[in-house]
Each structure stands twice: as C-alpha cells, then as structure tokens.
Amino acid sequence: MAHVSVPMYWRTVPQRYGMVGQRCRKCDAVNFPPKGVCKYCNASSEFDEVKLSGKGKVHTFVLIGAGGAPPEFAEQEKAGGMYPVAIVELDEGPKVIGQIADVNPKDVKMGMPVSTELRKIYSEEGVIRYGFKFIPEELSR
C-alpha cells in the first residue's frame, strides 16, 4: 500500500472533489494541483482560488494491465480488468493525471474529450478515498 495518511488525503479534498486550482496573480496562469510557487512564472506565490470545469482532452494515456497496478489498485484491475490512466490537458491549461472510467479501454484515444466525476479511488485503513476520475465527455452533460 502506498501510505497516504488520512490527514494528508483530506488536505487534497478541495482538488479531488471540487477541482479547485490556483490562478497566479502575477502571470494569470492556472496551477492544478496547487503549488507553493507558480510553476509557470516561478515568481509568485500569490494566488486566487479558481474552480476548474474538469473538462479537458487526453494528452497521453496508458492501459494498466495485470502486474502493472500498484497493490492498492490490484483488486480493481483483477475485478474490472485493465484500466486506463491518462494525463489530461484541462481546458484551463494545466495537465493532470487521472483514471478514465466508464470506457472500454480500447476506445480511449489521444485528444479524446473527457470531464471529471467523483469516484472511489481506493481504500486505506477502512477509509474510502474519493476523488475525481475522468469519463468520456459525451457521457457527462
């Protein structure tokens, strides 16, 4: 198990449940997930909170198969079969990694439009960790 303590996970709930990012007051770029110093201008740590749409396009993806899943996801792979993980370029600019759910792995394509939805990510110490996953955009609305 990757040990992510309950408080550590809880601190990321605004990102995982609500796609809350930071808009840099200096260069206006959007950081997601949050940074201490803006990763675009590297010159400011002053941000405004911004709620992202969760919409974006698949920048690259992998299909995690047998043996490729970390232990906390091994059961998911065994129960549900190979699962896609993508780096998605969000409409607001930043890229972020996440699984793509509700899709036949063979149908995942580069550039495919996706949007976020709350899903179970994994469980640790009896606590279900929820967070965003991507789903094909035509299924969201």
């Binding site: 690259t60 780096i87 990694i97 580069m110 990510i121």
Partner: protein, 390 residues
C-alpha cells in the same frame, strides 16, 4: 576557480541478481572487496575518510543510519558516512557527492557506492517500493507504478514522433545481447525481437520486456584527489565533468511529456564542466529502466535529435560495434537494476571500458577514451550525469 580534479582508482561490483543468502551488508561487502582487488597498487582502508552510499530503502530494512551499518560491516567505522537517496539515481548522486567532497578538500580518498536488496520482500511490498519514488499524491493514486508512468511518456512519444513499438523492443534485444556477455549481469541471455514484441502488456504500450526487473546488488568506487591517483594505479579514470538536475516530480507538471528536462540540464552541466559535447562521448551507460527511457536518454543527452531515437537505435548506432555504443553492460534491462547501486554500477562498467579491462572482451568497446554515465531517479525527478575519461 577550483583546480582540483577527481579520479576513480578502483571499482567493484557484486553480481547482480537474486541472492537469498545475501543482505545489504553482504552484498555491499562483496562489491567492496571486488573494488579493493581492482586497486592496482593496493589500498589501505584507513585512507578512506568518507563513504557515500546510494540506497532507496531496501524494503524498509534499516531505513535510518544504513550507511553506518554497511560502512562498519566492510571495516570502515569512524568515518563521515551518508546514505544518499534520490530514488533510482541514488548511486549517481553518491558519486557526485564523493566528487564534491574531494573538490571541497574535506577528504582526499572517498568511497562512493550503492546497494539494494529488492528480492527479500513479498510481491505486494515489492510493488509498493517500486512506486514510492513517483509523485505519491497524484501519480500513485491514479493507479500507476513506474511502468505506467514511462508508458505515458512512451505513448506520447509514439504519438508525436511516430516512434514504433519495434523501436522499444530493439532496445531490449540489444541490451540483452550485451548483457549476455556480462558475467555479472542478472539476465545473461539473448532475446529475439519476436519474443520482445510478443510479451504481455504490463502497461500498454509497454510490455514485460520493456521493463527492467527487481535486482539485488551493490557496487563500490574508490574516488580520490587526482593529485594522489598514481599512488593507487598508473591508469586512473578521471571524472572530467558531472552535473545533476531535478525536475517537477509529477510528469503532468513538466514542460514536456517527452523530454526529461533533468537529463538535458544535468548533461549540459557535465559537458560544460568537461569542456566536451555530446559528439565527444564515445560510449555511454544510460538509464534504461524501461526501453523508452533509453530512447529519451539518446535524445536528451544530445546523441540524436529529439524524436529520432527510434530510428537512431534501428540504424544500429547504439550497438557495441556502432558509432555510439549505449549500455554495453546490458543496461538496467539485462544487467539488472538494484536501485541504489545502479549509478555506481554504471561507473564500474565505464571504469573498465575505458581501461580496456572489461571481463569479457566480446563486450569491450574498442579503445574508448571518453564515456558518459547517466542515472535517472524515478521518472526523471532527479538526474545525474558524469563524464569519465582515461
């Protein structure tokens, strides 16, 4: 400007593989003794003032103070000793730490090494440890280990540059061919392109033969002020330059998905220090934890243009008899990847390549004077490059 220079005067490596009878102490000792034997004029251990030991964690065994443990076990108590941890680049950084120590004048004879014991732990724990060096909050919790992360890079590389599945497998075939000539390698067996192409997908587009294995092993280097190098050997190998660079830990935060910025910057620093360029490198030991990583290395070290590494490999440039031999040892893929030991293990190979003392002449690159070693932590969060010269 500091006029000091650093030399490597001895190098040793344990066998790489799966050794139930040996732990980190025994493995490290095996490499240390091998190193001692390699010092032509002999070496008094009392001269070693410091030890930098690369190690990721060896399955959680002795996470704290492990450098004290392995140092005293090999007969080096009462010295300045440090565990160096930068994931899979721990060894490369251990060598750089040793160089910096010597350049600072703090010590004149220093041990740089690395050790990892990966096969002691259960299957589940092994996967746990393999994934601890990526970004835990987002990458790990998206359900990836390193195979998944490198597959994300590989897939984008294929998409942007038309890199073919065959190109990845050709790296595996070449490295296994070289590793078959390395008596200390974990897998001393050649594989066919067909076999490499047909193995099951672990993380599509990467298959089992694109991935390195888990390995036990250790390596040791005797590093000293170049001024006194001749006290140990008449054929020292000099550290002509070194460089290192970190990058954003998570791939999604990086400028480019298909470039390891850390490699580019570490190499630029090393070339600059050595007053050399990529074309001067006569051979290289690069970090091929996954086949795609060797393609990235060829590009980001400047051996070929960005996006062209697939063709570069296909054209045979990187074979032992090519004009830019890469991973004559078999690389991480075939020689093995005992995480903390990998960087200093690369230096061990380069030390022998440049001195013409490779244990099997079939993988000896002919009359090379300058070589580069390249060690990557995780998916590129840390990278070290060193240039060694006869």
């Amino acid at each position: 400007m500091n006029m000091k220079k650093v030399a490597i005067v001895g190098a040793g490596q344990s066998r790489y593989g799966d050794f139930p009878e040996k732990g980190i102490k025994e493995l490290f000792f095996e490499s240390y003794q091998d190193m001692t034997k390699s010092v032509d004029k002999g070496m008094d251990p009392k001269r070693i003032g410091a030890a930098y030991v690369g190690n990721l964690g060896s399955g959680g065994f002795q996470l704290g103070n492990m450098s004290a443990l392995v140092s005293e076990f090999v007969g080096l108590p009462y010295i300045h000793t440090v565990r160096v941890e930068n994931a899979c680049a721990s060894g490369g950084y251990a060598l750089i730490s040793a160089c910096m120590d010597i350049l600072s004048g703090a010590h004149d004879v220093v041990l740089a090494g690395g050790v990892e014991k990966m096969t002691d732990v259960s299957g589940v724990k092994q996967k746990y440890w393999l994934g601890v060096s990526g970004d835990t909050e987002y990458e790990r919790l998206a359900g990836t280990t390193f195979a998944g992360l490198y597959a994300l890079i590989a897939h984008r590389h294929m998409h942007e540059f038309g890199t073919k599945r065959e190109h990845l497998s050709e790296v595996a075939v070449k490295n296994h061919k070289n590793g078959a000539q390395n008596p200390k390698a974990q897998f001393q067996k050649e594989i066919t392109l067909e076999k490499a192409m047909k193995s099951p997908y672990v993380a599509y587009p990467l298959n089992l033969f694109d991935c390195c294995s888990t390995t036990d092993g250790a390596s040791s280097l005797l590093v000293c002020d170049a001024e006194i190098a001749k006290e140990f050997t008449d054929t020292p190998i000099y550290v002509a330059g070194f460089g290192s660079s970190s990058d954003y830990l998570a791939i999604h935060d990086r400028i480019s998905t298909v470039t390891l910025e850390g490699t580019k910057r570490a190499a630029a620093n090393a070339y600059d220090m050595a007053g050399l360029s990529a074309k001067d490198m006569q051979l290289a030991e690069v970090h091929d934890c996954f086949t795609i990583a060797e393609l990235l290395a060829c590009e980001d070290l400047g051996f070929c243009e960005k996006g062209k590494a697939g063709q570069f490999v296909e054209d045979g440039h990187t074979r032992i008899d090519g004009d830019k031999p890469v991973n004559p040892s078999g690389g991480l893929k075939s020689k093995g990847h005992p995480i903390g030991s990998t960087g200093t293990g690369q230096a061990y190979e380069m030390f022998n390549q440049l001195r013409g003392t490779v244990d099997k002449p079939t993988r000896q690159v002919g009359d090379a004077e300058i070589g580069l070693i390249h060690n990557v932590g995780g998916s590129g969060g840390t990278v070290s490059v060193s240039i060694l010269r006869r």
